[in-house]
């Protein structure tokens, strides 16, 4: 097996085992209702994590994701409730603003040669601060469109509901998978994560690709903000605190190498679902503190980083070669 697939296979195996273990204790967890809730409850995290996957594969990091989600929810609430725009118009503006924000961060990272950690940290403070300036208080959103959306769903066999926002997340993952593995842009992202100097010498448009990567991440964070806004029907400057870290955890648990160059968007989906599974288990159990989610995720993360280290250092080049002379 391709060595970069091994952490992903491990994650998938752990997810299946953990799910079976959870089901053996709480048979109620084996239903499409629970699955539907998984998707709905983690939609914003999943969407943001797709963008984060691209950033990490390219060898960078985006700490601004949670703040961009928070900012977007406030911006949308302000545009709908105070300015009186239709939600769809507000969404379009929010996406445009976050795309521009990401492009600026990408440009700063490339042209100023500042590490992505620093640039996106500054972006995080800017977005979070900007949200608080727009409105320090939570703004409830009451609009016909919102109630329509939250009432619409696709009935799955077994009575589970695939909500609009759950559907958006799945669509984003499918889009991400195609983008990463079947387009030139995707191959450039991996190229940057592998070796930026080589990539440049091989003709990869480094500046354009870097800007596009952070634009993609911020736009998806903006979309996650829209989803979060639909999910909570509110805009609050402090919402989605720390989501960037959950997203990074999901990406790494999903088999993407934190140093870049290797990873799968599909793996991130498993990573998100694994986090959702732990949360759901804790809800079903009823006696555990919700902080156990963090502890379990922390332990998993640590385990996966160890696993990757082992897989990537143990497997030296050893492929057989046929030379014809």
């Amino acid at each position: 097996m391709n060595r970069s697939l091994r952490p992903l296979a491990a994650t998938a195996t752990i997810f299946v085992l953990a799910y079976l273990a959870a089901v053996s204790q709480h048979p109620g967890m084996l239903s499409t209702r629970v699955l539907g809730n998984f998707l709905t409850d983690n939609a914003f995290l999943g969407i943001a994590a797709v963008g984060m996957t691209f950033v990490i594969i390219s060898g960078g990091i985006d700490l601004s994701v949670g703040a961009v989600i928070g900012f977007t929810t406030v911006l949308i609430a302000v545009l709908i409730m105070w300015v009186g725009l239709h939600p769809l118009v507000a969404f379009a503006i929010a996406l445009a603003v976050s795309a521009l924000f990401g492009a600026c961060m990408g440009a700063a990272i490339h042209y100023l040669k500042v590490p992505s950690f620093i640039v996106t940290l500054a972006g995080m403070f800017l977005a979070r601060g900007g949200a608080s300036v727009l409105s320090p208080d939570s703004i409830g959103i009451k609009h016909e469109f919102y109630s329509t959306i939250s009432k619409s769903y696709l009935l799955m066999p077994g009575g589970g509901r695939l909500t609009v926002i759950g559907g958006i997340m799945i669509a984003v993952f499918l889009f991400g998978i195609v983008l990463a593995h079947r387009t030139r842009f995707g191959s450039y992202v991996y190229a940057l994560g592998g070796n930026e100097t080589s990539a440049a010498l091989m003709g990869v448009p480094v500046a354009r690709t870097t800007i596009q990567i952070y634009m993609l991440s911020s736009t998806l964070a903006g979309l996650a903000g829209i989803v979060f806004s639909l999910y909570t029907s509110a805009g609050y400057s402090l919402s989605a605190l720390g989501v960037e870290l959950d997203a990074i955890a999901a990406v790494v648990i999903g088999g993407t190498l934190l140093t870049g160059g290797y990873g799968f968007v599909a793996g991130t989906f498993v990573g998100v679902m694994l986090q959702g599974l732990v949360q759901t288990y804790i809800v079903f159990d009823g006696s555990l503190s919700s902080w156990w989610t963090k502890i379990v995720i922390g332990a998993l993360l640590f385990m996966f980083i160890l696993l990757q280290r082992l897989v990537f250092t143990a497997s030296a080049p050893s492929r057989k070669v046929l030379w014809k002379t």
């Binding site: 970069s4 079947r182 387009t183 190229a191 070796n195 003709g203 160059g261 080049p317 492929r319």
Partner: protein, 510 residues
């Protein structure tokens, strides 16, 4: 061997009167170079000869200050390597510049993948990759990560990519440096195939025997100037070594020799010192008041030898005795404690702290030896720096100015002063005159002679044979990572040294 140059046939690539100046240094001075289709043209020269500058100009990484480049007779200029690549000049670097984390197929066609509605046609790429590699005699799983294959395979993939995307001129920059013997054979088969296909191949290496084996013509550069271009059929290895190390060596001009100067008791004794893969075990004793010169071509193990002695690389065999007492030297601070000093070859990278002042650069080794708790106060620093600056005639407007503003010769003397300040018993100088104005060479040589008279033991590595002869009591010759000769007395002459360096090459080439 094709009869080159061929009358009436236009070279694929011709560089005319190329000059490149960095600051005050002429890295290339009025150099001509041409290459025909179906030819392997070797480019030889020691470090600093201008090889890499010329290659960077041919491949678009640098722009020449003077001169022109003609591609198939038409003047061209390249903005960057990508443009050179698009116009037909592909380059494969020593450290393979591909993506080990991606598949072989993707590495071949990255940026040129066929797409349909924006979707990469993976099957088509893989089929094409298999076809292309088959023409190089390579059958591998093109879907596997490039990094899972050996360097030799990666290099062939890099060559295949360069040929696919460029297809006229292929520049191979030290392609065999990290290959083993069998892999070198495979590499040469690949080169032969490409030659048969009519490609023009520029081959850069420092392995002389490989040049004779694979190349048709050779151009030798020295100190930024072209020494000459020869048909390899018409010359011997000794001729080429002579071209590389100084063309006038064998012709009568006999530099003054220091002769059988008296030397003191043994200062440092190295016995069977070696490190597998770096330097074969060697034994060498240096006496007080003695200079031992080290001659050999680039890559012969000269620098590796010095690094072992100073503990930069830990030896895996051998013993060291200083003043008759055994010592352990497995890192540089032990070497400093034993009274060793080391002025490395590339002083900009390894020796000089460019932004620090002359004074700080001089006292830094002494301070390190004393330990940081016994800080030298400013007056002591000024006094020490002043004393050595005067002794070595370091010319700086002020000892507080940053060292990087000094000329190369003065920078070299600052490093010398740094080591003299700790009062060493044994000093290693690796290419002390490299990159220094020719006028300042004599002064460095005088300094070396003065240090010898002061009773130091010195090991001086140099490609400047005239200078080696001028200051050495003994000369050891390195070849293929082995000490192959020790010359004394009358044998210390450029002609004998050149023969010692080339001996083996002549044998294997014939």
């Amino acid at each position: 061997m094709p009869n080159i140059p061929r009358d009436g046939l236009e070279p694929v690539l011709r560089a005319r009167k190329i000059t490149k100046i960095f600051g005050r240094h002429r890295a290339l001075d009025d150099v001509d170079f041409d290459i025909y289709g179906g030819e392997v043209h070797a480019l030889l020269g020691e470090n600093g000869a201008g090889k890499s500058t010329l290659i960077k100009i041919l491949t678009g990484a640098y722009q020449p200050d003077e001169g022109e480049i003609l591609l198939a007779g038409q003047p061209v200029s390249f903005r960057d390597p990508l443009q050179a690549q698009a116009k037909g000049i592909g380059t494969v670097y020593q450290e393979v510049n591909l993506l080990p984390n991606r598949s072989v197929a993707e590495n071949l066609f990255l940026g040129h993948q066929p797409t349909r509605f924006g979707i990469v046609q993976r099957k088509a790429i893989e089929a094409k990759a298999r076809d292309v590699l088959a023409t190089y005699g390579l059958e591998i799983d093109v879907r596997a990560e490039l990094g899972s294959y050996s360097v030799a395979v990666q290099q062939v993939v890099a060559i295949a990519r360069a040929v696919e995307l460029s297809g006229k001129v292929l520049v191979l920059d030290e392609p065999t440096a990290s290959l083993d013997h069998n892999e070198v054979r495979k590499m040469f088969e690949v080169v032969e195939r490409l030659k048969a296909r009519g490609l023009a191949i520029v081959f850069i290496t420092h392995f002389l025997d490989q040049v004779f084996e694979i190349a048709d013509r050779v151009t030798v550069l020295r100190n930024g100037r072209k020494v000459g271009t020869e048909n390899l059929a018409d010359v011997t290895a000794t001729d080429v070594v002579r071209m590389m190390l100084g063309k006038d060596i064998a012709f009568g001009h006999q530099p003054t020799r220091i002769g059988e100067a008296e030397t003191g008791p043994a200062r440092v004794e190295f016995t069977d010192l070696g490190k597998s893969g770096k330097v074969a075990p060697f034994s060498l004793t240096l006496h007080e008041g003695e200079v031992v010169g080290v001659a050999g071509l680039l890559g012969s193990g000269r620098t590796e030898m010095a690094r072992l002695m100073f503990g930069v690389d830990a030896a895996d065999s051998g013993r060291v005795r200083v003043g008759g007492k055994p010592v352990t030297i497995s890192n540089p601070s032990q070497a400093v404690a034993a009274g060793f000093g080391f002025c490395p070859e590339d002083r900009k990278i390894d020796g000089i702290f460019g932004d620090l002042s002359v004074r700080e650069n001089i006292i830094i080794a002494l301070q390190a030896k004393l330990g940081w708790f016994k800080a030298l106060n400013r007056d002591e620093q000024i006094e020490i720096a002043g004393r050595f600056a005067e002794a070595l005639d370091i010319r700086a407007a002020s000892h507080d100015m940053p060292v990087k503003l000094l000329s190369g010769g003065n920078q070299q003397k600052v490093i010398l002063a740094r080591w003299l300040a700790i009062d060493p018993g044994f000093l290693i100088l690796d290419e002390p005159t490299r990159g220094i104005d020719v006028g300042a060479h004599a002064e460095i040589v005088r300094t070396i002679n003065r240090l010898r008279e002061d009773g130091l033991a010195l090991l001086v590595i140099s490609s400047e044979l005239d200078e080696v002869v001028a200051y050495s009591n003994r000369v050891v010759v390195m070849r293929d990572r082995e000490m192959v000769a020790e010359l004394t007395g009358e044998d210390i002459s450029p002609a004998v040294i050149v023969n010692a360096i080339a001996e083996n090459k002549t044998r294997s080439a014939s």
